[in-house]
Homo-oligomer: 142 residues x 2
């Protein structure tokens, strides 16, 4: 079969298993996966203007603003006006948010460990290799 068709065919298969992995690995978390991604993005950057956050997460500004609302209500982040450009809002993690993200990261890695322990060492290697290749090639499409 032609490459393109094969890719079109495999896409939903991959998404299905990736979704399954997510639900296993993020099982029992206090945050949804999307909230986790947002908090992680802010945490990794130290702080993040809202418009950049929306771009990184590939969602509309309005959606990003609403998600930030929820994270603020949960006490994990806070907003400040950028004094250098008062139109802009910068999001920071609170101490509580940073603590959470560290805990979650640890837990997630542990869950991956448990999940992937079912695979022979060789397949783990191939998995990492495929992940790296995907990230590399698909990254160039953006």
């Amino acid at each position: 079969m032609e490459n393109i068709e094969r890719i079109a065919q495999l896409y939903p298969v991959i998404m299905r298993v990736m979704g399954r992995i997510r639900s296993i690995v993020h099982e029992g978390m206090d945050l949804t996966y999307n909230q986790y991604k947002m908090l992680l993005t802010i945490y990794d950057k130290g702080s993040c203007p809202l418009n950049l956050l929306a771009r990184e997460l590939q969602i509309a500004m309005s959606s990003a603003s609403e998600m930030v609302d929820r994270l603020v209500n949960l006490g994990f982040v806070y907003r400040t006006v950028d004094e250098g450009n008062r139109r802009q809002v910068i999001i920071y993690t609170t101490d509580k948010g940073e603590e959470l993200i560290r805990d979650l990261r640890r837990g997630i890695v542990e869950n991956y460990r448990t999940l992937l322990a079912k695979l022979p060492e060789r397949d783990q290697e191939r998995l990492v290799q495929s992940f790296e290749t995907l990230a590399e090639i698909l990254g160039t499409l953006e």
Copy 2:
């Protein structure tokens, strides 16, 4: 870095690009991606009991029932009671639904073609190979 950590790190990266691909490839479709997946699942099987549909799509029965409602309202599928087991509901595609799914499939493959044309032949091969490997390995985890 340890395999597990690398996988945990790459997962969101992959999901991000895969999401980007979805939004490009399914751009301008009359159905959401989830609706497309559901319609495709029914189409590929010819017909599908609701409970199987929910299992395949990895969603709760109640969610599946609601999604079927929407597809019924759009005129793409219909429900019938299984006379062999009157508790069970079987979903069928309508002619309109089948026509749509064939059109969408064609359009989607075309969009993949345009998108992936940016990649050198060699990277296309590597991409297919990685997809195959992922599908194979992750499939064993289920």
